[in-house]
Symmetry: D2
Subunit: 344 residues, 4 copies
């Protein structure tokens, strides 16, 4: 940030698809101390549209944009993350990278090595850590209110499955969806995962199975500290976007529940009727995206570590590989087994 003459962190946003465009909007309008200098996308129309909306420049190349900013938000397709990370690191820029860093562990390691060598800040986009409810669960663990952790429970279900075209390139449910929950398990417990048992099935749409993926999974994680996390995922939940976390320990339990569309209830002789769990993920998680950016800007500005490190981006990928193998082979798989395979 050496060249910035102002106190505002000047951002370039790489990738202006749905998530990239959202990040650009949030940075421009909702995050104090941040502004968007320019955007880049391989689809230049998308970049231009976002640039016009935000009143910034649509760049012709990522390199050109990199040269003009203090920090980059890498929101492109997963297979381009590492190259952009390496370029940004070489340019000495602070880096925010959407999850997953890459589907290949050696690629992840190449990216992290470049960041480490350059000594630039890096934060991975696990926004759910910044959800006020989930963060309150983590806080209760840190403060000791729930004592020594015993069992963690994460429920994460999407309202609707993505298009099959997306499923095919998503890297599979463990890399695309459960990855958030693997991160949440590590975040809430503060303890690494050592073993995984997972069950996967196709209950939502046979086409997902035809694409080689599961749409419904249950995973059991054993943490280094002995705590057990169980995760339920499904690509479809008719009642809304179900996002819950609970942490049970020797002194109590902390539970982050869903919010509802509103808090009116109608009671008649037939019982009570309440609002729905919101179906749109942004209705739940917009505040977490904003908080994520606030914390990134603060970390970069103060020189403190970012709240979600490169290692935090890597670990869930390893767990995901263990989970996939477990679901495929019907047995417990250790994280060490995956690491051994990766290094061989």
């Amino acid at each position: 940030m050496t060249d910035s003459s102002s106190s505002t962190l000047r951002f370039g946003v790489l990738g202006t698809g749905r998530i990239g465009a959202m990040h650009a909007d949030l940075l421009q309008h909702q995050v104090d101390g941040a502004s968007v200098v320019g955007v880049f996308d391989v689809f230049s129309e998308a970049a231009t549209a976002t640039a016009e909306r935000l009143g910034c420049t649509a760049y012709e190349s990522a390199e050109a944009l990199l040269a003009d900013v203090d920090a980059v938000a890498i929101c492109t397709s997963t297979d381009t993350h590492v190259d952009l990370m390496v370029a940004a690191a070489a340019a000495g820029k602070a880096i925010f990278c959407e999850k997953p860093i890459s589907l290949e562990l050696d690629e992840v390691d190449r990216g992290l090595a470049a960041v480490s060598a350059a000594g630039v800040p890096l934060q991975i986009g696990f926004n759910r850590r910044f959800d006020a409810g989930h963060a309150a669960v983590r806080q209760a663990v840190i403060e000791g209110s729930v004592g020594e952790l015993r069992q963690v429970r994460i429920t994460s279900r999407d309202p609707e499955p993505p298009p099959i075209s997306y499923v095919k390139v998503s890297g599979g449910i463990f890399n695309d969806m459960t990855i958030h929950d693997f991160d949440m398990a590590r975040f809430v417990t503060g303890s690494e995962v050592v073993e995984v048992f997972a069950r996967g099935s196709v209950m939502v749409d046979p086409a997902i199975g035809d694409a080689g993926d599961f749409d419904t999974i249950t995973a059991v994680l054993t943490h280094e500290n002995g705590a057990i996390t169980t995760i339920d995922n499904c690509r479809q939940a008719a009642y809304g976007y179900d996002q819950r976390v609970e942490a049970f320990g020797s002194l109590g339990i902390a539970q982050s529940d869903n919010q509802l569309d509103h808090y009116a209830v109608v009671r008649t002789g037939d019982g009570g009727a309440t609002a729905s769990v919101p179906h749109f993920f942004l209705q739940r998680y917009i505040p977490s995206y904003i908080q994520q950016w606030v914390d990134f800007v603060t970390a970069v500005t103060t020189g403190e570590p970012t709240p979600v490190s490169g290692a935090d981006g890597r670990a869930p990928l390893v767990i995901g590989k263990a989970a996939l193998r477990s679901a495929q082979e019907g047995r417990v798989v250790t994280v060490a087994e995956i690491e051994a395979g990766a290094s061989s």
Copy 2:
């Protein structure tokens, strides 16, 4: 209690209608340190049925029963309360009396004078004070958690109106139904009521209006300490027996909400469906009846004051008279005005 050779408080139950029979059952089976020696009712079949169920004696007269017990529960019709109270006081027995003591203030005063002269314990049947939720509101006030009280809110609605035959002898909604809420207002605030404004209407059943009563009332009480209590009553609530109290003060608010039949919720694309507020008053208040007896037995046994005194039985009747006059005349009525009229 002088003649009792055991540590058990030996009760006689006067009146074995619905409430009297319930009290007899609770005393016999659910209250440690209490037993029912006998029951009396002017309908001897009712007394006999209860006596057989409990394994005790059906007495031929109230006087005969009084002679054999340590304590009496007066659960007869309202117009007989005071005579029985006077008789029990004269016999030196501990007295529990259902509310209202009487509909006539001079009768109430005659009964209380007799109790006072005899120096026997007296407790009035305002069971809602013993409801765990309502008691938690009072406790929050006592402990200072909500600070200096400003506004109290009481909602009390029956699931169904009583028969018109009962309405005609009930003494009117203020004496029969709101009396509990007048008591609750004094209990929660710990402050006397000085002024009343009330609105009454007939919205449930015209026959109630024909009987000279209201079925729906709203009352605003001004307390000595400046706090304002508002009360909503209705003889019919399709969604169940609605019993709520909230106390708002300078430091916070304490709210006692309804419980539900159970705590399962079904969520679909149409929102959530919950269980009903119970329709039967015993489903909400049985534990409060038991606690009322436990506290009575404790008070009598230890010689401590009972938790609901004779004065606590009298005050809501005066407030009720002010409320009725207010509703009839469309103006604020002071409690002092009623007292002045009573003594004139």
Copy 3:
């Protein structure tokens, strides 16, 4: 809107204080079909700051701004509302006006007459009607789920009192704060108010009393259809911004409760601990402000009536005058009495 060559409604925002600036931001960024052409404020620095933030023009006069737009948002100080309304009506612009229109009924009537003569759309800023929870209560009434209304309950408490300087010019608690609840009572019931009984006291800050105002009020409204609405207001609630509405009728009850900061709960041996009711009013009502604008834009664009008419802006002022007189004189005051006085 005749001169607009685009489908976007072009707004001028008059007054860029806290509320005006917020409206300008929402119109510019969050409301499809709306854009802000320019802003005006007697404090030109305030106008300039907002204009720069939004990328629009700071005008030198309201008149100049009026000439360039399709619609105006009148967010200036209350005493200037009517003159601006008259000018905007004369210019044929669609008008959004913050509440209260004026503290003087004859001024209100002058403004409404001008709007009526010009035939331009007018919407008053009662945003709470657009809150999803409160709107669900109204919807339940409209759909008949709660049957014939009997009792309505509105609780509205601010987290902190405004500065005394503001209290002095606010028009008093009934015009400044309860006005929203008077509107809500009319909105939820769909029935006019005919009588008012109110109690006012000073329990938060003696300085508010010294300024001639109350800080804590309870009001009982009798509606034309017989329903009774009770309102509790307080200028200070330590536990947050308390905004609740409930409507009880012959078939059920609809209750709009507060939302919380988040939905995590921590349970230990001492019970459960939940999040707070938000303290900042925007945390609760931003979505209602946005919805208000969406509905205004739709009404203006389609030519349908706006959802909050000029009459809806006038009625709460009359109720407020009745409430003030009731609180001052300790008696029931009819709306007719106020109207008679106004027309005399």
Copy 4:
């Protein structure tokens, strides 16, 4: 029931320990159409105390008691269940048997064969099926409200571990505690369990580990219909007796949550404070015990099948053996493997 001249089902209660005495009380006082003729316990003082309290006879032997009744409640220690079941079947009596029937599958089969041969009614004591909340979940599944089941979640935690002396004879956590949840999984899904994966650990008290048991377990059950049930158990939960069930399917989710001690909440500047989850299991489950008896009496009286069959008593034992083996060997274990071992 041939010899009974009355319409009341005449019960003998075998075993008057904590659970047996409770059943005797409920049958005598709270179940219409049932009465307790006599009780038996190898500790004759216990039997005498219960008999005196209930006003019935303490028998000298189970056989003598069997001769005098229509139905028996077998509440003795687990190792005596099957012999008593066989004797009661031979005597042609309706049988209620507490869970588990036996810890040995061949013993279970011997008992069930005798019952089958005699053609007498048999009901197993899985009371939680009769909990109103859990039953509502099952009902939602039956009615199709949640659609085709995908994932079921059961949380069951005791407030405090039992004495070590009890742990040693309990048959282990899977037979003593999780057995209820295995039954709940079958009840809610209506589908048999085919595979089990379980993790067990000692996190509450090392002495439980020394006794060869786990105190904290997580189990994943695969049902015949493809649904996955996950179960979390712990012998100690500081926040109360945690009993929750949820069933997620293609159309929605049904969730049975804990009730609280009461429904008062105190809100201050620090957030909200609620009551505790009850610590005493009877506070949650007494109504389910009563309902269990009502349904037993109805089934026996009408000749309809009982709601919890002998097969329902056997299946959870097999699942428990699979779970134990899974936890011990760190692998998935099929129910078929256990059955094959049992029959070999």
